[in-house]
């Protein structure tokens, strides 16, 4: 039997669940994702090769290979590389989970960025509390970050459930609200007077995440992120709540028929998604920056969208996708030092990969048994 991948039910124009396919077609999704990654790397290699024409030596056929090898050497070749890779993967996993979790309920959480900021700010404030012993302070601060992020997801969830406001519009606006108001709070209200640039005070040592690898900055965040992925997987696929979330995402009418209240699921899903992104922000504070800079310059929240897409909104896929992106990022510095290829090439590779994932119809043509037609409507445009 040919397995239909995610037929859009009903007449929704923007239904993220159409990106998911069926859970049974995992093997095929894995294959097409690997093809997308390879194609993305080939695009990068082509650009590197073409750019070599500008150098004094002219075209260098082996330059792409040399660049990718130094990248791998930089990210996986030594302890420092491993530390950078895992530290970069941690927030990507959590924001990717945040977006993927929303996808499953048919929600497009573009707000992971704002939720990340909220979580980071919450942790930065709670982390400065004096007098709480070590493990307790970390937990208390992380929970705080989760709740701050969850609150920022709860708002669009409630507006959608209550008034039908589209979550994409609301979360995009809330991203700006979060970035600008926290900028003001960190730069004016909670500003550390001793600091040379506007930021909050450093968190207490008791709130810092423990270092896993001596002599590096690799903190325990990766364990929390992987644990969160396991928890999300269990919640989505092993619990009745997950069944309800996925049913609302796949067919809200049938969910109502089955006695599920889609409005409740929407609020809950957006809140949990916000919590995941908020945790990412909290970990970033407790593991890396130690304070909230007024001009907090990060795109982890937006990167989560790419990670969720590449990971096919599956928790384990998200971990894999986040690790891939982290490897590319952590090694890019070494690549630039050794081969002169600018780190920006990594953004191009990432963008190309996402483009190829989105253009799955194209990729299917490279696969054996790619469907030409299972039903008239879907196949007609591509066959014409």
């Amino acid at each position: 039997m040919t397995s239909e991948t995610g037929p859009g039910q009903g007449g929704m124009s923007l239904n993220p669940t159409s990106l998911l396919g069926t859970d049974r077609g995992l093997g095929r999704q894995f294959t097409s994702t690997v093809v997308a990654i390879l194609l993305g790397l080939i695009v990068g290699a082509l650009l590197i090769w073409l750019s070599s024409a500008l150098s004094e030596d002219g075209f260098q056929l082996d330059l792409p290979l040399a660049a990718y090898l130094s990248l791998l050497q930089g990210s996986l070749g030594n302890e420092r590389g491993w530390a950078n890779t895992f530290n970069a993967a941690t927030p990507l996993i959590l924001t990717g989970l945040s977006v993927a979790f929303g996808f499953r309920a048919g929600l497009f959480n573009i707000g992971a960025q704002g939720q990340f900021f909220l979580g980071a700010f919450g942790a930065a404030i709670l982390g400065t509390t004096v007098g709480i012993p070590f493990p307790l302070h970390v937990i208390w601060t992380l929970v705080g970050g989760f709740l701050f992020g969850a609150f920022w997801g709860f708002i669009p969830g409630l507006l959608k459930a209550w008034r039908g406001a589209h979550e994409v519009v609301v979360t995009i606006m809330l991203n700006s609200v979060a970035a600008l108001s926290l900028n003001w709070l960190a730069g004016v209200v909670f500003r550390d007077p001793a600091a040379t640039f506007p930021r909050t005070s450093d968190v207490e040592g008791s709130a810092l995440l423990p270092i896993l690898l001596e002599g590096t900055r690799m903190h325990a965040g990766i364990l929390i992120a992987v644990g969160a992925a396991l928890a999300v997987w269990f919640l989505l696929f092993k619990t009745t709540l997950g069944f309800e979330i996925r049913t609302v995402g796949a067919n809200p009418s049938a969910a109502r028929y089955a006695g599920i209240r889609p409005a409740r699921i929407t609020v809950l899903t957006m809140s949990l998604a916000g919590g995941l992104a908020g945790t990412a922000g909290a970990i970033e504070i407790l593991g890396i920056t130690k304070n909230y800079p007024a001009e907090y310059n990060t795109t982890y929240g937006f990167d989560g969208i790419a990670v969720a897409l590449l990971g096919r909104a599956h928790p384990f896929g998200v971990v894999g996708a986040a690790l891939l992106f982290a490897v590319l990022r952590a090694g890019s510095g070494a690549m630039q030092r050794e081969t002169g290829i600018p780190v920006d090439i990594i953004s191009i590779v990432q963008g190309a990969i996402i483009l190829f994932v989105a253009a799955e119809m194209v990729i299917r043509r490279f696969l054996p048994g790619g469907r030409r037609a299972t039903g008239g409507a879907a196949a007609a445009p591509s066959a014409a």
Binding site: M1, T2, S3, E4, G6, P7, Q9, G10, T17, L20, G21, T22, R24, K238, T239, T240, L241, G242, F243, T247, A250, N251, S253, A254, A255, R256, Y257, A258, G259, I260, R261, R372, A373, G376, A377, A379, A380, A383, A384
Partner: protein, 569 residues
């Protein structure tokens, strides 16, 4: 009745199978209901196309077409030929391979074996564009129209008549459409917006679209599935006119009486093979049903008289509004007792949908009350009603009854996932869900390769069996069946009717809502008739005459012969 299609000299339908006892032909009822409907398009042809056509090469011939999908042979060396001016019906159950065959003809998939000949010439059809260029037109069951475009714009879409430069020559297009429409007796305003037109008219636009592209072979995939009986009669007139003008028509259907009425020749397909041809002049519905299903099929519902018990569902003065706030169920009162089937008849759109939604917790009621076994149940959640023993077969099975991307086994527990043994403390038990599927699939004869394939891959009949299996395999006090056999083939209809009667005999109260008058007449013990939101009459099914019920459905006037609805309240 001068315009009755059956009085035209063009292909004569079979002698009314009234000769076979127990068979009732729906067109009779419709004839009565839509007495006043003028019939367009039954032109005055005198030749019998099926005879005249045999002399020349077939317009279309498919020889030895074989198509294999993993694990299933969809088409097994199928031969079929269609002569110019012939209406050739392709009859088969859902999943028999009709659509695959037509997709091969339309170039959507390539055959593994076999060849296609057009006017005696072997051809290879590479895709829909190629098929269109060769004069093959396809009218899909689900229309491919742009609602905000005009009729003319839709028809020329993809085949725009260019004026000078990149500009559309709208006038030339409209003129050509006008000529075509006149030639084939269509009454269509090319400037009308498609979204404003009825389903029947939209279908005619699809046909016109194919003709506009020069179709000589027209394929219609279940064209009547979405039409009212009146629109069906009109489209039949159009098809006869087209055939008389020389167009070859492949008519795909699983409705026996329709095929007997419209076709010049019938080819029956079962499990990917041609099992025989039938002549509509001599074949009966029973013959066709047996060929289709492969065994004798009972077209009448076999049931004993009801022995009603206590009142299970008691509805008093129920008033419901639609999404726009218009009252669509107006002061309805009725009772359903244990062990009886109350059938609600009525032309679609007279408030039945909203009545059902109100009784199943999917829509709030404005006034009145409904009690289930003595407990008030209006405005309760679907979950609570289900817990109180309400089983519900929704009218739109793909929208409400199933989550199509989910595997069959998950769909089998869609309303019970939160209960033991399928979950404990909020954690689902995959083993219990699989075991349930392993029991239900053979018990309800669900034809599926396994319990883990997505429900979307199953045929309509088997999808409906999933819902029936799910709703019937638990203790229930009230069964609410909304259009339980819509779009299904005879084998599945027989099966589902038997299951409903079995539930009644086991003591459940059954409320059946159906737009198919025959279904209500055969299945129900009592009949309620809805007209413009009101329950205008309830009758005893035993003595109900089809003509009388049809008349009340059409006019809402129960007259002196019908009991007033409120008699029982």
């Amino acid at each position: 009745m001068a315009d009755d299609p059956r009085q035209t000299p063009s292909p004569e339908p079979s002698p009314p199978p009234g000769s076979s006892p127990g068979i009732t032909r729906v067109p009779d009822a419709h004839t009565l209901i839509e007495d006043a409907v003028t019939f367009a398009g039954a032109g005055g042809t005198t030749i019998d196309p099926s005879v005249a056509a045999r002399a020349v090469a077939p317009a279309l011939e498919m020889r030895g077409i074989t198509k294999r999908f993993p694990g299933v042979i969809a088409n097994d060396s199928i031969d079929i030929e269609v002569h110019p001016g012939e209406i050739h019906a392709l009859l088969g159950e859902n999943g028999a391979g009709k659509t695959t065959l037509m997709n091969i003809l339309y170039g959507l998939i390539g055959p593994d074996e076999g060849e296609i000949l057009l006017d005696g010439e072997p051809v290879t059809i590479t895709g829909p564009a190629d098929a269109i260029a060769r004069g093959i037109g396809m009218v899909h069951q689900h229309f491919m129209l742009v609602p905000v475009f005009s009729v003319a714009e839709n028809i020329v879409l993809g085949n725009e008549t260019m004026g000078t430069g990149p500009l559309l020559d709208a006038k030339a297009a409209e003129e050509r459409i006008h000529t075509l429409a006149e030639q084939f007796g269509f009454q269509i305003d090319p400037a009308a917006k498609v979204g404003d037109l009825s389903v029947g008219l939209q279908q005619r636009i699809e046909i016109l679209k194919a003709l506009y592209r020069g179709a000589r072979v027209l394929i219609l995939d279940e064209p009547t599935a979405v039409l009212t009986p009146q629109e069906t009669r009109e489209i039949f007139g159009v098809l006869r006119r087209l055939a008389a003008e020389g167009t070859s028509i492949v008519f795909i259907s699983h409705k026996l009486y329709e095929v007997l009425e419209i076709a010049d020749r019938i080819t029956v397909i079962r499990r990917g093979r041609v099992v025989g041809q039938a002549d509509p002049k001599t074949a009966t519905e029973e013959d066709l049903a047996e060929m289709m299903v492969g065994r004798e099929v009972s077209l009448v519902v076999d049931k004993t008289p009801a022995s009603p018990g206590d009142v299970v569902l008691d509805v008093t003065g129920l008033t419901v509004t639609d999404d726009r706030g218009t009252v669509v169920v107006n002061d309805c009162s009725f009772q359903v007792r244990a062990g009886e089937i109350l059938g609600i008849a009525g032309v679609a759109g007279n408030g039945q949908d909203e009545l059902v939604e109100a009784l199943t917790g999917l829509r709030r009621t404005r006034a009145g009350r409904a009690t289930l076994s003595g407990t008030e149940v209006n405005n309760r959640s679907a979950r609570e009603l289900s817990g109180r023993g309400l089983a519900y077969i929704p009218g739109d099975r793909q929208r409400y009854g199933l989550v199509l991307p989910y595997p069959v086994e998950d769909n089998l527990i869609l309303t019970r996932y939160h209960q033991q043994p399928f979950s404990r403390f909020g954690v689902v038990d995959a083993g219990a869900i699989s075991r349930n599927a392993a029991e239900r699939i053979p018990e309800f004869d669900i034809r599926t390769p396994s319990g883990t394939v997505p429900a979307s891959t199953l045929s309509g009949g088997n999808q409906q069996k999933i819902i029936v299996a799910r709703e019937f395999s638990r203790p229930i006090v009230l069964l609410l069946a909304d259009q339980p056999t819509r779009g299904l083939d005879v084998g599945s209809i027989e099966f589902i009717h038997k299951q409903i009667v079995a539930k009644r005999d086991a003591g459940a109260a059954v409320l059946l809502v159906s737009a198919e008058l025959d279904e209500v007449l055969e299945l129900a013990d009592r009949i309620g008739i809805m007209y413009r939101g009101r329950l205008v009459a309830t009758l005893d099914a035993a003595g109900a005459e089809k003509e009388k019920v049809g008349l009340i459905m059409a006019t809402g006037d129960a007259g002196e012969s019908g009991e007033r609805a409120r008699v029982q309240a």
